[in-house]
Symmetry: C2
Subunit: 271 residues, 2 copies
DNA sequence: GAAAGTCTTTGCGCCGGCGCAAAGATTGAA
DNA sequence: TTCAATCTTTGCGCCGGCGCAAAGACTTTC
């Protein structure tokens, strides 16, 4: 087992697109300042390649550029924090590329991963509708490109494109549904089963086919998987070890490949 | 300890209002058919007495009657099911009086209480925005009066009163926030602490001051509290017994009075 | 390429909470 | 009033999962 190396180039997050232009700009430290022109062409590719079923659903394509242009382009390096639980919520964000991790911190110090925000998804809608603080912390699980709109801008946009409000509502309803499902799992299932489900969920969102199976394409430590499933890193480690012996997964340091998804699904469903 | 009897009249759910008219009509089995006139006067009282911050927020009061009138008035007896997890979502509901229990059923048979819907709150917004099935089952935890709008009606209303869409979004965002908080609790806290928090939460929503303390004004079994906190009825029973010995609560069959809320809060926060 | 830092594995012991079982309490129906 | 149904309590035993500790594996830095 061990270590199939990650594809080196042209891939980050789960969107494939011509990344050259962006990389050139970034290498000159200017990525965050680019608007319009070539760069927005890239955005358009992203928007189309995704099931952008959500935020821009039923908004005519010709307006996408305009809408993105009204926000600020924000790049976050891996591990950096985009916004922090408890801070006043001022902006909502759309992820173009990369992956955000939303966490919540418990008084007694324990951290819980509430959700991952993938390319094409929106987060912190709360900023637009409530005079409140962010309920979670958003960190970049991989280097990420985002667009952030502040409250007033988004309100204006929603007045201009009422469909945006509807879409946002759809997003919120979906998130609620998803979280309810996970709440149920947390109550009703044993740890190993939950770990299996979590792994499969992440795999579906960020899986990358390789010859050994489906590789999860971002750094995912035992600790992090534990925080996502409500358990401890020891328990996760033991589960992965056991599954590796059965040939279901291949795991290395912060890297997991699911080599037998079918077996894992069976286990997730029947215990 | 034991058995302080529930106040007999004029109270149900957590709204106080002149209930006579309604009761007269109901006793003749006609409550479900009443619209407009006197009855809507009652509704108006309800709407004002609540922190209706939500669904009707910023909608001029003169329109409330009209909006309610567009829906169907539906009465559910205690224990009856309003809609069922997995059925096609056709209607969303507003609770006027009483309390709904939203549950989700796990494959392996375990039931989880996802949320309670109190007077003044809306549920099943999903029916309006998605071609989906209800993600939860709604049962009446006490006899309840609701207004149900079907999909098209609500879409029309939202076109007429765009504020309704905004309010609905606010509701969804709030629910998400609340569920995230409970998800965190479930991951990070011990059972007894969670039971304490749940009891306090329910108390705040449905507490009724009595001379012995704050009585939870609807039937709440150990089993149900267990399903709300992700544990078993045995564990809940043991916790309540222990707290009763400490003088924090007084509990009887399907009935709980919190006699020392302060102690319970301390326990909930510090374990 | 050596050393420091970080992540992972695994043995071991412990305990919070589960769940059966059986008795007791309360309620509703006949 | 009695009986059946339902809910609650509590003793007892068990075990899933936690968490320490220490060694091993992998990465990064200089």
């Amino acid at each position: 087992m061990k270590r199939t190396s990650l594809p080196k180039k042209g891939y980050n997050g789960n969107i494939y697109y011509n990344i050259k232009v962006l990389q050139n700009y970034r290498s000159k430290g200017r990525a965050c300042k680019i608007f319009g022109g070539i760069f927005l062409e890239t955005i358009s590719v992203i928007a189309n390649s995704l099931s952008l079923s959500n935020f821009l659903h039923d908004v005519a394509e010709k307006f996408h550029t305009y809408i993105f242009d009204r926000g600020d382009r924000i790049h976050v390096k891996m591990g950096e924090t985009l916004f922090c639980e408890g801070d006043p919520a001022q902006r909502c964000y759309f992820v173009l590329k990369g992956r955000l991790r939303l966490t919540k911190l418990h008084e007694q110090g324990k951290t819980v991963v509430v959700r991952y925000i993938n390319p094409g998804e929106l987060t912190a809608a709360i900023a637009v509708f409530k005079e409140k603080n962010y309920p979670v912390t958003a960190q970049a699980a991989t280097a990420a490109e985002t667009i952030g709109w502040n409250k007033q801008t988004m309100v204006d946009l929603m007045a201009e494109f009422p469909q945006l409000a509807i879409n946002m509502l759809r997003v919120a309803v979906d998130r609620l549904d998803d979280l309810q499902a996970r709440y149920l799992e947390l109550c009703a299932e044993q740890v190993e089963q939950r770990i299996a489900r979590a792994l499969l969920r992440i795999m579906r969102q960020s899986g990358l086919k390789t010859e050994d199976g489906i590789l999860i394409d971002f750094r995912l430590s035992r600790q992090e998987l534990a925080e996502y499933t409500g358990t401890t890193l020891y328990t996760v480690s033991r589960a992965l070890s056991a599954w590796e012996k059965k040939g279901w997964v291949i795991s290395g340091r912060e890297r997991i490949t699911v080599s037998d998804p079918h077996a894992l699904v069976l286990f997730a469903e029947n215990g």
